[in-house]
Amino acid sequence: MTTAILQQPGKTADKTPAVRKPNRSFVHGLLTNKKALTGMAVMLVFIALALLAPVLFPGDPTRITAMASLEPSAEHWLGTTAKGQDVLALTVHGSRSSLFVGLTVGFASTFVGILVGLASAYFGKFIDEALSLVTNVFLLLPGLPLLVILAAFLPPGLGTVILVLVVTGWAGSARVLRSQALSIRSKDFVAAAVVSGERAGRIMFREILPNMASIVMGTLLACVIYGIGAQAGLEFLGLGDASTVSWGNNLFWAGNEGALLTGSWWVFVPSGVCIALVAFALALINYAVDEVTNPRLRKIKTPKDTERSASK
């Protein structure tokens, strides 16, 4: 967790996007933004790899197919592990579990965040106080040790991993979404909806939520990044679901079988690079969302800046 805390979804709190932006220009802005396009292209490649894994590398990727610790060659593009498994097959198959857990955790924690944030902002008063208190406590408890403790007590398995990651990951998104929802809650059109007697659920999900679409998207991306990274970390510690093939488990075995000390760099490099590429691609999309919605961060020089650099 980056920088455990620094990379947690809460970091997006500084964003102050324009509130009521027409949706079409947002999509258009994203599609013409280089960062967004690069990010989306990388993500599409990985999603395609994950879907096609059983076709590209049929059979169990963990089966032993060759001699141990072979260097990359024409036959095994990324070499073999200390057990003699094909590293490329492990890496491609690993994308399935990693992307699945990352996306599930991302959507689930954003969903919890939306519920808590909207309820906080809409009802205010006591409910807001209570929900904010819980959110802040969860934000403050050290994430990684909490992950480790929870994973140690719960029975091992994929469900546990997802549950534990959502429990430690929702608070950041809740805080960001609450502050955004609060600013929309104070707008006149919400007051009008309240006066006209609309139901609470309708105001929250039909009036307020659509107006914070871009920040929900930013939060979702940050949560997916968190999910993928934290799953890898948990599995690297040997606390994940050992029966699945994933990038984190690949790295766990690389560490356990002494790939570092024997110099088999090809065993631990691919999975790490894949995690980084996916996280980087998502971060690029996230920055693009930021740039599209927050004109101040765009790469246009303001007249003031040009003057200043000219005077130097």
Partner: protein
């Protein structure tokens, strides 16, 4: 003062929540961690110690609320039981022998990352579109995308195994007498380089981008224009006018960063077998040493809360708006 009291109340609630979590986890988890643990260590333990552990972990016939009160009393009198994996050392002793290493590693990394990152952020925002602003953020974000245990593995492999520049495991060379001698301090420093470097590398981007974005907002304030109109030197405007006012969010991040120091260094410590609390926590989990696990978690939480509270007090000093409200 009211602000401080409010915050103090909040931290007490957070601490109570983590104690309660600690209390409830072994009691409500499916399966029976306690009997697994006893099966492993029964023959080495005295009957009365087993009895005390049963109470600590909730294998106990008393009603739940009575257990809860007993548990709280134990925590506040510092009785966290004995460690199973390092039997019969008390948990408190194990923790106190290791927290210093974590503070050393995390503290060094945090200070370096915060100082360098903030300076880079200031420079990047001051020269928008300049070399620092256009080259570093994407690079640092890319480095920050790597899981940091993986960067640690890479650094260990490259600088430790291939180049053999730095030692790769533990906090100091085995057999060296700990003490305030130059030899020992130098040895500890050499062991510190790789773990600290990897933490700095992944966290510096967050500091830099945060500072850059706040600085960009500050730079458009009227008092900056005014300072320029007065003809002050650019360096003075940048540091004394703009950066100084853009520092506040960084102070808050510093508080959260301290949490990362104690808790987040866990993965780095594991990769380098650095004998801090994080490494010990993982060992405790693997050895089914539940008392030690719980003690470590509470210690880490307490340290994080304390650090945040200190930052809050500092915040009151720095920001007059908090004082007047």
């Amino acid at each position: 003062m009211r602000f401080i009291l409010r915050r103090l109340g909040f931290y007490l609630i957070a601490f109570w929540a983590s104690i309660t979590l600690n209390f409830l986890l072994p009691r409500f988890m499916p399966g029976d961690p306690v009997s697994r643990m006893f099966a492993r260590s029964q023959d080495r333990m005295q009957p009365e110690q087993i009895e005390a552990l049963r109470k600590l972990l909730g294998v106990d016939d008393r009603p739940l609320w009575e257990q809860y009160i007993g548990y709280m009393t134990n925590i506040f009198t510092g009785q966290m039981g004995v460690s199973i994996s390092r039997f019969p050392t008390p948990v408190t002793e194990v923790i106190s022998s290791q927290i210093g290493w974590t503070l050393l590693l995390g503290g060094t990394a945090l200070v370096i990352a915060a100082v360098v990152g903030n300076l880079l952020g200031v420079l990047a925002a001051w020269r928008r579109g300049g070399a620092i602003d256009s080259a570093l953020p994407p690079l640092l974000v890319f480095i920050g995308s790597f899981p940091y245990f993986w960067l640690a593995m890479g650094a260990l492999y490259l600088f430790g195994v291939v180049l053999n520049w730095f030692p790769i495991r533990h906090a100091f060379t085995a057999g060296l007498e700990p003490g305030f001698t130059w030899e020992f301090i130098g040895d500890v420093g050499a062991h510190l380089v790789l773990p600290a470097l990897t933490i700095v590398l992944v966290s510096i981007g967050g500091w830099m981008l945060g500072m850059r974005n706040t600085m960009i907002a500050t730079n458009s304030e009227d008092y900056i224009t005014m300072a320029e109109a007065k003809g002050l030197r650019p360096g003075r405007i940048m540091l004394r006018y703009a950066a100084r006012n853009a520092m506040l969010p960084s102070v808050t991040s510093f508080g959260m960063g301290l949490g990362f120091v104690v808790g987040g260094a866990l993965l780095t410590e594991v990769v380098f077998a650095y004998p801090g609390v994080g490494y010990q926590l993982l060992n405790a989990v693997q050895g089914l040493d539940y008392p030690l696990m719980q003690g470590l978690f509470l210690t880490i939480t307490a340290a994080v809360l304390l650090a945040n509270f200190l930052v809050d007090i500092l915040y009151v000093r720095l920001d007059p708006r908090v004082r007047s409200n």
